[in-house]
């Protein structure tokens, strides 16, 4: 995915130059000179974290860490991997501080603290692991080409194979102490999530259900891995102490390989049991907190809807239609700009939001006079500005990739204000009507970020939350006339210390600002009075209240947090005098174990920058290609088995690489010339070169589908994106290939040929614009189409063209209906096998690594044999109904569990040779497929599929086919 993103970015500007700066333990790669200002600081941040980790975890890195600095998205992010090499991806943009889900301290240090813990967890090795790494020449990457690599990978990197909650939990737990308490183990959002689950008496996922359902079907999706993992780590630390926790997570000599087994070795109880104990203790802890809150009258929100909205954006009230407009995102629905009807509570989804943010959904602004909503799309990439007319229901994109959000509408002159993130910096920008261009008002220095802005009703002031590298935050006010002159001097209205001033917005009369903050521990509503210059607390929330929306009549609407997401509600506006603070579990842990303060790192500036950088210049991928790993494999060739070796070479960014498989089939029934097998697959940027000699394949050991082929082949391919605006993409690919000594057609295993030499050329244009709602297991709506042409050449040319067009419709509860069409026409000598399409069967092998839903492909026709139907021309229509998936909460253990099951019903009609009356034929089939998603070794997806289809030809002759298949990875 990273490679495709990088290549897609590269496409727009040719292949980018990549620069490198390296210290003793880290090398930083970056493609934009505009990112270079961060490099030294980043290196110092990592060296600083590593100094700590060397001592605490007795960690010796197996290799130098590679870091890629990138700016592919408008919000900062980090990702780490240790297989095959230690690698961190750093998105340099400022973070999203919505709902204070993240701390606001200096983010390069924060990212390196967090991600470096992932490196320690995955890379730390004992002597046994190191022996395997020597044996296989490195850490083995699991590949579906040779699934035995999964086993080798678990030998070389045993702790890589732990649940996501383990990796994120320990990284988040450690990040908190490494930054002196500024982390999510001590975060208001985390505390609220668990307090609310207890308040609502909601289901708290168990150790298996979290991964199988909690991280996909819940509105917080993957964030639950962080939330639960951090909480469990904190509980372990609180209950058994930090020493035991370190003992569990550190890969020491004589420690069990598997993280679950090691848990039992250290704690003496199973992880399932400990998890249950934590949940029981969590309930007690939160009951105490709720009791503390209830000592004073609690705010009783009067809910406006019966259902929850999931995540919600800033909202606006439209008195004309008596609705609230907001961006919402909740399971089984596409994220949308919605109208919430105040009188009925009806939620009307007005317009889908492409690329919604997890928590903030979209930046939304409202022009009450023009009755238009302005909103951002591509919120996880480079944001676009869009408009939606609430009267005409027309929408349009106004500006693409403006990288600007936190929108606020200036009713005085109709301009939009926003905050742009570019090259790691925040900038206040104005977008004057008619919204064709942006005007830069002020660039903040690195580490200072402005968010949740609003414009006063008279258009004189812009307010917002400002944060600096220390993580301290203030509610501030700028003069708009000064901003237009580039003067960003601001007035501090209120210093929130380390709390976020959340979503402070003007009352319609301009006298007040309403917002929220975790100052009391729970997120309560606050009101700032410009006349008295005082800040009042106006709620005593049991869970949390956010995003207040003051109305012209002086009343107030806010969004109440529930265990299923936010609910709009009316809330009182009276200033309160008594609100109790809640206790944070992280703080209770610190109070019990004050030594956690000793885990605070010194500032990165304590690492001397003198002689820090040992190497700098250009990074050349080709010159950095190294052996990644090499290991024994088994392969199938026709009906025989062989053994051999696989070697993988690649550079650190995997922009250039080659895999080579070689094997030998000792079966005496094979002619000696067919016993040796070699294949390779090389790539460089968007070019690929592959070839084989007597191609062998692991999956030919199992089942009826055979892809092994006699002879030699060489193929050169090039692919590029013509449109890369995810999820909308248009790709163009061409390839040319040559074959010799074939005995079967390259594409059709049951069609023999005695052609000695064969040339092949393909051109493909593929469009995809598919989407899925939260909780989906597959694409649920959208369009995909492709146009394909192929030319076989053997003494004469055999051209053919075909295409497909598929359209999906989202139905309730993550079910979907799809119509899939395809048609093709082949030319050339009709007596030659090269001039036909061949179709038939499901196409899945017993053990497989192709797509699980092969019945969707044009060449598949379940119910008849493989390649049983030949056609010079064809037209096919398939209707497919995907029933709602069933998710399993407690089916399995942490190392192997069932994630979900889904049943599909399909039926298709196939018309062949429609251009010639005598050969015209037709077929119909009806079938079903049941898929179970299984997670193996904690980490690796597999799918067990079974299916049955019956097919009939035009004579009414009926045949049936069963299919059972296990897809690996």
């Amino acid at each position: 995915m990273f490679c495709s993103l990088f290549c897609a970015s590269a496409f727009s500007a040719g292949h980018p130059k990549i620069f490198l700066q390296s210290s003793k333990h880290i090398e930083v790669l970056y493609y934009s000179p505009a990112h270079e200002y961060l490099v030294t600081h980043l290196i110092r941040s990592y060296e600083n974290a590593l100094n700590f980790e060397l001592n605490l975890f007795h960690f010796t890195p197996s290799q130098k860490l590679t870091v890629l600095l990138e700016d592919f998205g408008d919000y900062g992010h980090g990702a780490a991997g240790t297989v095959p090499s230690n690698f961190i991806d750093v998105g340099i943009a400022p973070f999203s501080y919505t709902y204070e889900t993240l701390p606001a301290n200096e983010r390069m240090t924060w990212i390196m603290n967090h991600e470096s813990i992932h490196i320690v967890m995955g890379d730390n090795a004992n002597s046994a692991d190191r022996r395997y790494r020597s044996l296989f020449f490195g850490k083995v990457v699991p590949t579906d080409d040779d699934p035995i690599s999964i086993f080798y990978s678990s030998l070389t990197s045993p702790r890589h194979y732990a649940t996501r909650w383990f990796h994120e939990g320990i990284a988040t737990f450690m990040e908190t102490w490494m930054a002196g308490g500024l982390g999510r183990a001590m975060g208001g959002w985390d505390e609220m999530v668990f307090r609310t689950m207890v308040h609502d008496d909601a289901y708290i996922y168990d150790v298996v259900g979290l991964e199988s359902e909690g991280t996909s079907a819940d509105f917080q999706s993957g964030a639950n891995s962080y939330l639960y993992g951090t909480r469990f780590m904190t509980w372990l630390c609180y209950t058994y102490g930090p020493g035991k926790l370190l003992e569990w997570i550190t890969r020491s000599e004589n420690s069990k390989r598997y993280f679950g087994s090691r848990f039992k070795q250290v704690y003496g109880i199973g992880m399932d049991e400990a998890w249950k104990m934590w949940i029981a203790d969590e309930r007690k802890f939160q009951v105490a907190n709720l009791t503390e809150i209830r000592k004073y009258p609690v705010t009783q929100p009067q809910r406006l809807t019966t259902g929850t909205l999931g995540s919600v954006s800033r909202s606006y009230f439209d008195p004309k239609d008596n609705v609230i407009y907001a961006g919402i995102r909740y399971p089984a629905h596409m994220a949308s700009v919605a109208a919430i009807h105040m009188d009925t509570g009806k939620i009307e989804e007005l317009k889908d939001i492409k690329g919604p943010g997890l928590y903030y959904v979209t930046s939304l602004a409202w022009d009450p006079r023009g009755r238009k909503l302005y909103y951002t799309t591509d919120n996880n990439d480079l944001r676009d500005l869009n408009v939606y007319d609430v009267d005409t229901h027309h929408s349009a994109r106004l500006l693409k990739d403006i990288r600007t959000g936190d929108l606020a509408f200036d009713a005085a002159d109709g301009s939009l204000w926003g905050v742009r993130h570019n090259n790691g910096l925040s900038t206040i920008v104005e977008i004057p009507a008619p919204y064709k261009e942006t005007k830069t008002s002020h660039d903040f220095e690195y580490g200072t970020d402005l968010f949740d802005i609003d414009v006063s009703p008279d258009g004189q002031y812009l307010t917002g939350a400002i944060t600096d590298v220390s993580g301290r935050q203030k509610l501030v006010r700028f003069r708009i006339d000064a901003l237009r002159k580039g003067d960003a001097t601001f007035e501090t209205l209120y210093d929130f210390d380390y709390n976020s001033p959340g979503n402070f917005v003007y009352s319609p009369d301009g006298r007040y600002l309403y917002g929220s903050s975790y100052q009391t521990g729970a997120s309560n509503l606050f009101r700032y009075d410009f006349e008295t210059k005082k800040m009042d607390v106006i709620s005593n929330a049991e869970t949390g209240l956010f995003r207040p929306l003051p109305l012209a009549d002086g009343s107030l609407i806010a969004f109440e947090y529930t265990s299923k997401g936010f609910v709009p509600a009316r809330v009182p506006t009276k200033a309160l005098t008594d609100v109790n603070a809640v206790t944070y579990f992280g703080q209770a842990t610190l109070n019990k174990y004050p030594e956690l303060r000793g885990w605070k790192l010194p500032p990165p500036s304590s690492i001397s920058s003198e002689n820090l950088v040992t190497e700098s210049g250009s990074y050349k991928p080709l010159q950095n290609v190294r052996l990644i790993s090499a290991y024994p494999i088994v392969q199938g060739y026709k009906s025989t088995a062989g053994v051999g070796m696989r070697a993988e070479f690649a550079d650190k960014l995997r922009l250039v690489g080659v895999n080579i498989d070689g094997s030998f089939s000792p079966d005496p029934s094979l002619p000696s010339i067919e016993r040796a097998h070699i294949s390779f697959d090389a790539h460089m940027w968007d070019w690929k070169l592959s070839g084989y000699y007597n191609y062998a394949d692991f999956y030919d050991l199992f089942g009826p589908t055979k892809v092994s082929r006699k002879g030699e082949s060489l193929r050169l391919s090039h692919s590029q994106y013509l449109i890369y605006d995810t999820p909308r993409t248009l790709s163009f690919e061409w390839n040319v290939a040559g074959y010799s000594d074939l005995d079967r057609l390259p594409e059709y295993q049951n069609v023999t040929t005695n052609v000695h030499d064969l040339g092949e050329a393909n051109v493909m244009l593929k469009y995809s614009n598919l989407a899925r709602a939260q909780g989906a297991v597959d694409d649920e709506t959208g369009v995909t189409w492709g146009l394909f042409s192929r030319l076989y050449y053997s003494h004469t040319a055999f051209p053919r063209v075909w295409g497909n067009y598929d359209r999906g419709f989202l139905l309730p509860h993550n079910s979907a209906f799809w119509l899939r069409t395809s048609a093709g026409k082949s030319l050339g000598d009709f007596n030659s096998p090269f001039a036909s399409f061949y179709m038939g069967a499901f196409g899945n092998n017993y053990i497989d690594h192709g797509t699980i839903d092969r019945y969707r492909d044009y060449y598949s026709f379940p119910g008849v044999g493989i390649d049983a139907i030949s056609a010079r021309s064809f037209g096919k229509l398939l209707g497919e109904y995907n029933l709602p998936p069933k998710r399993f909460r407690e089916l399995g253990t942490t190392w192997a569990y069932v994630n979900w099951a889904r049943l599909t019903l399909f039926s298709s009609g196939l018309l062949t040779n429609f251009t010639s009356t005598p050969g015209r034929d037709y077929f119909v089939n009806v079938g079903t497929q049941l898929d179970f998603r299984i997670v193996l070794f904690t980490y690796l997806n597999a799918t067990l599929s079974s299916g049955y289809a019956a097919a009939a030809d035009h004579d009414g002759h009926v045949t049936g086919e069963y299919m059972v298949s296990l897809r690996i990875l």
């Binding site: 690195y446 005098t577 944070y584 500036s605």
Partner: protein
């Protein structure tokens, strides 16, 4: 008695207006007790925009070496108007704009930029595109969305206000370079623009010719 009453009244008034102080909560509004001992007080980062490593790498690249041998590039480097304009970031932004590079190839564009009506519109109108719509020299571009984007960009207006801009648009060497692939790749790096601006590109060229 009176004193007690005043104190009680004072307490009542105080709590009826309970509010959060600027540095801490007051009255019975509790404040969360969380450990916050910030690790970083200042980020010791370099000045955004400075990129000595990338600049050096760019000036050592084969693209730059090829450019340095190109007579048109050499002429451009000797041309004061180009060097002057490169000191402003706007020309670098424009050169990275595909619309602008395409427009330069059209001779009508240079004529338009040199026309009196353009110069007047530039100084008197906020929206150049609207101001020039009825101008004859602009007719060829009125249906061009690309041209609309150029004329409405901040970078174009700023660069066009420089007195050297119209002369540069007429320079054949400049037009020639904007068609050059190596130049195209180089200008997409902001560091190259900075190297031109700082003179380090000229120094690197001189070293290559030694």
């Amino acid at each position: 008695m009176i004193g007690s009453g005043l104190i009680a009244a004072g307490v009542l008034v105080y709590f009826s207006n309970a509010h959060i102080g600027s540095d801490k909560t007051q009255g019975a509004i509790g404040q969360r007790d969380v450990y916050r001992d910030g690790q970083v007080a200042s980020a010791d980062v370099a000045t955004p925009g400075s990129a000595p490593v990338a600049t050096t790498a760019i000036l050592e690249s084969s693209d730059f070496k090829a450019l340095a041998k190109n007579p048109a590039f050499q002429e451009l480097m000797r041309y004061d108007a180009f060097n002057g304009l490169m000191r402003h970031a706007e020309l670098g932004v424009l050169l990275r704009d595909m619309n602008f590079r395409a427009a330069i190839q059209d001779v009508h564009f240079a004529e338009l930029v040199n026309s009196a009506s353009f110069q007047v519109a530039l100084r008197t109108h906020q929206d150049l595109f609207v101001a020039l719509k009825s101008d004859l020299a602009f007719k060829a571009f009125t249906n061009s969305h690309n041209m609309e984007a150029i004329f409405r960009s901040e970078a174009f207006r700023s660069a066009a206000l420089d007195k050297s801009f119209d002369r540069l648009m007429n320079l054949e060497a400049f037009r020639s370079m904007t068609k050059n692939d190596a130049f195209d790749r180089m200008v997409s790096d902001a560091s190259f623009a900075r190297a031109l601006e700082s003179g380090s590109a000229a120094q690197a060229m001189a070293r290559l010719h030694e």
